[in-house]
Amino acid sequence: MDFEFTTDQLELRANARAVLEAACPATVVRAVYEGTGDGTALWGQLVQLDWPGLAIPEEHGGMGLGMVELAIVVEELGRAVAPTPLLATLTQFVPLLREAGSTRLLQEIAAGTVTGTLALAEDGVWHRPRMHTTARRDGRDWVLNGVKSHVLDGTTADWLAVVAQGNDGVGAFVVPAAAVVATPIEVMDPTLPIATVLLNDLTVGGEDVLLEPGDPAAAQAIERALQTSVTAMACSTVASCRRLFEITLDYAKQREQFGRPIGSFQALKHRLADLYLAVERAASLAWFAALTIAEDDDRRAIAVAMAKAAAGECQRLVVRDALQLHGGIGFTWEHDLHFLLKRAKVGDGLLGTAACHRAHLAEFLGLAAPA
């Protein structure tokens, strides 16, 4: 295994970071938090730079980059706390289209004229043996009914990929925003806005049926798409943690008490060493997961669950210590620290917490209780 990024990948990271440092400084994030601005201008710039086409095949107008490259860009979104539809569109909507073998909307997405998201979770659960949202056959069409929770960009995405339960298994459908009732949820981190989505006797047919319920390949295709979404969320979360760690480290070097930098006290040194280790541990597992997806390796299911679990474990430690070690200043609204703190926490909550993914791992490792 060669676990170093290529020159091209390192360049991509440097470029993405430079773009976001210029286009998404903390003032942009603060404006979103305080309701005085949104991510529209940022999105416009990212579209101009062809970011929406990053992971879309070249024949559909994209750049055709792989999962490792997507992970690199998503990390930068997490680092910058970027309020953009890119995360939901490229890591939640497109993967399900691709796994279903559909080319629907890819051209428009690559051009930046259309955004999408994934409506999968119900009552905050992403992995459910049987969905409550139903897909009932009606002639050649399907009729969807149910409530989806925690839909990222649920009120703003143009299209939603909906997963629903048919009599013979699970299926996936593409529906336009206008056909659903999306209710925004007031969330702690407005850069990752979520909504509850109501599907009320919604008829779907033709090319909007991505995977028919009863199609034996459907469940696996959905699972594989979700692996990309989960890995991306892990990458975003770890990158937020890395930034938190860097800021906290700088603060520990500068802030003086008792006539010396607080970072010279061994109690803090050991905590910072442990934070560094937690970030590197989670980052390396996230990259490994991205790599198993990029190469479609057999270990991908386990690697993805480990990545999301480690990302959750990482934020648990880093969020606590970043806030604690900043002392009172980090507790104030006017300091920018809380944007990252909240983004990291939300990143653990969405697409399955650390504990949820450890439970998946228990099954993958053959440790689950016999039925």
Binding site: L277, S284, W287, E295, A310, R358, A362
Partner: protein
């Protein structure tokens, strides 16, 4: 980034595996005469070292005359992985082959290489590393064992402790104070001392696990005299050499730690179903979460190791390597503890084997609880975990010393 190695690396692996299949010592042979100390090389181990040396498989990264084949760092990594997978120790004299011989080759004279390094490589001699002292543990540079040049002889007086393998080794790579007036890091030299020199007394220190097979020793040096030409490298340059030769090892030593961790986890996963079946549903849930966490730790150790190694192989700085000693040794401790706790009352049963033959004796072996206690050797020695955290904080993260 890619999961697979290049074809030439795979060809190297195939050649090694084919050679191992024919030439490796058998499990029965190793179990019949296990090594009882890191200074002890049983007859099979001596033959095995010689066989590897002759075939250029002892230190693949070195030239043929030193028992290698000029292999690159990636091949060397594959080599260590495959030996561990095949359950064949690379050596029973870990410090001799890993630190002492390379240091003599790097810093010693031709005569020293001929008389001391080459016999280690040919399986004819073993060496121990005389570093720690009663008052110089984590603060190694505080060592006080004194060497004074009188005429053409060094006269050495002092005491070493925690000297692995000293009870069987042929010679000691001894760190001595040669200039008591210089700052503590600058007055240290390295002198080769044959263990049968008059005035050298070894007192084994039975350990908390398997006291019948001590590996650690006290070494007392009373008016020990060795010829002046036993000085290795420059006078008073011992500290710099120590860092140089230990750095050698750091690039690769994590592989064995990670593979030990993987082996522990694999064993635990095999034993888990029977252990878990005895538990109530809630106990089981708690236990399973612990196992899953050490499974994540294990994969993370592998990934962190590869991450640091990928940078090292490109000649770049690899801060991840400094993390590996700390992370892998603590993870190994957690696996043993988790396994012992899931065993419950049965964990207290003693009587695991001291050495199964195919591990070096300094690796945790025996029952889970024995392994747990044994694992502290790795979180205490070679820079305790607390020292590792200081090193990470100061040297990698740039936090002020004071």
């Amino acid at each position: 980034m890619k999961l697979r190695f290049d074809d030439d690396v795979e060809a190297f692996r195939a050649e090694l595996l084919a050679w191992l299949a024919i030439n490796r010592p058998s499990a029965a042979e190793m179990a019949a005469e296990p090594s009882v100390s890191t200074g002890h090389a049983p007859a099979w181990a001596r033959r095995w070292t010689r066989t590897m040396f002759d075939a250029g498989w002892l230190v693949p990264g070195w030239p043929p005359e030193r028992g290698g084949r000029n292999a690159g760092p990636i091949e060397s990594l594959v080599y260590i992985e495959e030996l561990a997978k095949a359950r064949v120790p690379r050596t029973t004299n870990v410090q001799g082959l890993g630190i002492v011989a390379p240091s003599i080759i790097d810093y010693g004279t031709d005569a020293q290489i001929r008389h001391y390094a080459m016999p280690i490589l040919r399986g004819e001699a073993t060496a121990c590393l005389g570093m720690s002292e009663p008052n110089a543990g984590s603060d190694l540079a505080a060592l006080t064992t004194r060497a004074v040049l009188e005429g053409d002889q060094w006269v050495i007086n002092g005491q070493k402790v925690w000297t692995s393998g000293a009870n069987y080794a042929d010679f000691c790579f001894l760190f001595c104070r040669t200039d008591p007036h210089a700052p503590k890091h600058q007055g240290i030299s390295i002198i080769i001392v044959p263990m049968d020199t008059p005035g050298v007394t070894v007192r084994p220190l039975p350990e908390i696990i398997h006291p019948d097979q001590p590996d650690l020793n006290e070494v007392f040096l009373t008016d020990v005299t060795v010829p002046a030409h036993h000085l290795v490298g420059e006078l008073n340059n011992g500290w710099a050499m120590a860092n140089g030769s230990l750095a050698h090892e750091r690039a690769m030593v994590w592989v064995n730690a990670v593979m030990g961790l993987e082996e522990s986890l694999a064993t635990l996963l095999v034993e888990a179903p029977a252990l878990l079946d005895r538990l109530t549903p809630i106990e089981r849930t708690l236990a399973v979460d612990q196992i899953v966490q050490v499974a994540i730790d294990t994969q993370a150790a592998r990934c962190l190791g590869y991450r640091g190694f990928a940078k090292f192989a490109r000649g770049a700085g690899a801060p991840e390597q400094a993390l590996m000693k700390l992370y892998a040794s603590e993870a190994r401790q957690r696996v043993a503890l988790v396994a012992a706790e899931i065993q419950g009352a049965d964990a207290v049963v003693a009587g695991g084997v001291a050495n199964d033959g195919h591990h070096a004796v300094d690796e945790p072996q025996g029952t889970w609880l024995e392994q747990y206690f044994h694992s502290f050797a790795n979180t205490i020695s070679a820079g305790a975990s607390e020292i590792q955290r200081n090193i990470i904080a100061e040297r990698i993260l740039g936090l002020p010393r004071k």
